[in-house]
Subunit: 493 residues, 2 copies
């Protein structure tokens, strides 16, 4: 498959200062207390899948690598920070000469990911690993949210193309620009956001709005003008006044009078309001009877996976969907709750000391230690059986049976025999140096398609999916529970 | 009042191509059909207040003026568009020499606004007025959404400061940066988003995260280190392990052992999890008994106006709130449904021909014509009585009684006598030239405060507010209904 080139429009803003202020106060404090160069390990992970879905689609890694590659504090930044009277000159000087030195691992974009998995791990000087928290979260949270929502919507639409139409209702410019990127990763065929094609090579499309129709003396004249200018891409918006009494009859008249004499077939009609099922069935019948059974019907109007499922169930005659605000904002659940937590610190001897965050909410307790994720596949079906989070130095011998167990209901065990494993993450940065080449967006969309097909249908279900197994290795489970026992004894004595 | 200067960090991206592709196909079509230079009037308005609130807070005008001032197509843009094979060389050449020539009016930021009011009106060559649709909507929709949500949350918090903490869960970088700006317009005292202080002069604040506590050998050492570095701004996060058994006792120990000997009072404690009401009451009592009744209690953890109202009702002892994801994404209703509709076109004689968009949904029918908004105030109380949308040439004689009527239940009438009127909008651009000076963000926050105080308490209510009157002048009402009759006759014959 050949991928479209993007047009080299880059977002070259310096976003170094897009950071929660406390990362700076803490950095200043770490330096002051001589712990700034302690090697720390932070994990980025999330706790639940939005919309109670079965999986998320990882996205945002490319923007994360761009941000980390470009970290730099300008003189203006330093002057501004000095004016806050909270930072030492030593700290400001550290920032002035800032050079990113961390190791970073992440799950590549497009892969299905699950709660509690360390999607990103940063290892490096505490002062640096702490600093990148805000942007790691912001980038991965946003794009993973939208890619996941898009994947749900595209799943509902089946083979019908879904076009991303939401720029105008996005939350800020990047909500539109990077939202369109994430939507395509999730499965959308194209976007209305023009600049996203320039930046990412995702196809930008569009035809007309109601204003086109209104601007002419009447609907017929408007359609005729369009067919004149775009005979080969004649998609007419038929609901400005009345679909069945005006829009469709005028469209067919134009197909007959303008296109037919030229031997050109119409591309489609679009309906943006009213009862989709009723109108599309009526329109389909009328178009077929008029000899335009190849004329496509495009639908848009506050769609999401539920409305699409519902109208298709009722037999709506739709060839493709334009999806706007409910996709670009992930309206049904617009927050992706990724967090960034300290999981280990190296002591003076260079040994990794695991760290844990306790909480009265069981699900908020973190997994300690420097970890990795193995995905376990069935050798015969190539389906994903489970993910296993292990300590980083654990190796799985695929030639031997592997027993995995539920981390809460530990008596629920499973012995795997015909399986193979895949280390789910790649290294992005080595001592601050980028060592990863980001794939093109359309290639990432292929990865998402291929890798979600390896999930059982039960996990892919939109409603009440089966919970995919994310287990801990025995070694990690023991480590965690020993730490929990320790704190429990301390507070309950 | 003295306003803080911003630090001259500017977002100087060229966002000209952040545009729905159909604006370009239509522009190309307008030019081809010789209607590109027809003078068109477009209104931007919304149809309902998010969260069923009583009003919205206008925001985003400054970014809109920046965008419109910087419209330009680069050679790369033109080359890219040429590669799509949909545009004529005449159109590409028009874009190459693009010079913005429109008149633009808008409601200044900070003002309360209501459904169906033309918040922005663009008058100019159809090809240009059409082109700016996407960015007008994107900018005003996003910031008005967040300013409105922030205003609700701040209203619930009463006199207690509300800090915006949501960057990490924002929808893209601008979601964080401009979201923080809008949150401050809505009433927030400060933000955690550092770059927003550099750009807009809004105060950036922050102290520590759980990782600070985890990085040290134990909680006491972590608190002691903080008090050492920041004795004058000692806010300690007390819920890393256990608020009452560990966090608070350690905090008090540090206040006693580190701060007291220096004669410094502690600034506060922060709680980010658990039962707010229970924990803050307990903590308040313990702090008071320890002699720290001036130590503030800061709360954060998935807060919104409802949770804040609820915990305050139960007597939670909170001095300030940090509000994150539910504010920065307007989680309860993350879409602001602003639309941009053609309302008039000038004919060859230069007369304004009103245009209307019909719909089977009564509320989707637009108000035709070139319009303005008058806000009517009671002379004695200075309270806003109603808004009146009129045709642009209508003048209200304040010395005479004014009869207004409900645009749907037209028999509901009201005669105003002791009133004065205010033209709610200002002109931003005259023939493409910026003629408006944007106020500083902190000044806009003052406007929002002052102008919302002019609304009756019934309109300000969070739940079931009274619907503020937005009426049409008799002249406008007649114009609209004549057009509706015309189309009704056409389709029902």
């Amino acid at each position: 498959m050949e991928f479209k080139k993007n047009f080299d429009i880059k977002d070259d803003r310096n976003l170094t200062m897009l950071v929660d202020f406390y990362e700076l106060t803490m950095g200043n404090g770490y330096l002051n207390k001589n712990v700034g160069n302690k090697t720390a390990y932070f994990d980025m992970f999330f706790r639940r899948v939005p919309d109670n879905g079965g999986y998320c689609i990882m996205a945002g890694v490319q923007q994360l690598t761009e941000y980390l590659s470009n970290l730099r504090f300008t003189k203006e930044d330093i002057d501004y920070l000095r004016s806050k009277h909270e930072f030492s000159e030593e700290f400001l000087s550290y920032l002035k000469d800032f050079k990113f030195e961390c190791d970073v691992w992440a799950v590549p974009e497009g892969n299905p990911v699950f709660p509690n998995e360390p999607l990103v791990t940063v290892k490096g000087p505490a002062i640096q690993a702490q600093f990148v928290e805000t942007m790691i979260l912001l980038t991965i949270n946003h794009q993973t949210l939208i890619a996941t929502k898009a994947n749900r919507i595209c799943r509902a639409a089946g083979n019908r193309p879904v076009m991303e139409f939401g720029s105008r209702r996005a939350q800020g410019y990047d909500g539109a620009i990077y939202g369109a990127r994430a939507a395509v990763i999730g499965g959308c065929s194209s976007t209305a956001c023009t600049i996203s094609e320039q930046m990412f090579g995702v196809n930008a499309v569009g035809t007309m709005a109601h204003s086109w129709v209104q601007l002419f003396d009447n609907e017929f004249e408007a359609f005729k003008a369009w067919a004149d200018v775009y005979p080969e891409n004649c998609v007419l918006l038929v609901d400005t006044y009345n679909v069945l009494k005006s829009g469709l009859p005028n469209a067919i008249k134009v197909f007959d009078e303008v296109l037919k004499p030229k031997g050109i077939r119409p591309s489609g009609i679009r309906i943006d309001s009213g009862d989709i099922t009723y109108l599309t069935k009526k329109c389909r019948k009328i178009l077929d009877e008029a000899g335009y059974s190849d004329c496509k019907i495009v639908i848009s109007n506050s769609l999401d996976e539920h409305i699409i499922t519902d109208v298709l169930l009722q037999g709506a005659e739709v060839d493709s969907f334009g999806v706007g605000e409910r996709l670009i904002t992930a309206k049904s659940e617009p927050v992706f709750g990724g967090v960034f937590k300290l999981c280990a610190v190296e002591n003076d001897e260079g040994n990794i000391v695991p760290k844990i965050k306790i909480s009265e909410n069981q699900e908020k307790i973190t997994n300690p230690g420097f970890k990795k994720i193995y995905r376990l596949f069935d050798k015969e079906t190539d389906k994903a059986l489970a993910d296993l989070i292990t300590l980083n130095d654990e190796v799985i011998d695929e030639t031997k049976p592997l027993e995995i167990f539920d981390p809460i209901y530990t008596w629920k065990k499973k012995k795997l025999t015909h399986y193979y494993v895949k280390d789910l993450r790649v290294q992005l940065f080595k001592k601050g140096e980028l060592v990863y080449e980001n794939p093109e967006v359309l290639e990432i969309r292929n990865i998402a398609k291929k890798e979600t097909e390896k999930l059982w249908a039960e996990v892919l279900r939109l409603e009440n999916p089966h919970t995919y197994y994310v287990d801990l290795s025995k070694k990690l489970w023991d480590l965690k529970h020993n730490l929990l026992e320790k704190y429990s004894n301390a507070f309950n004595s």
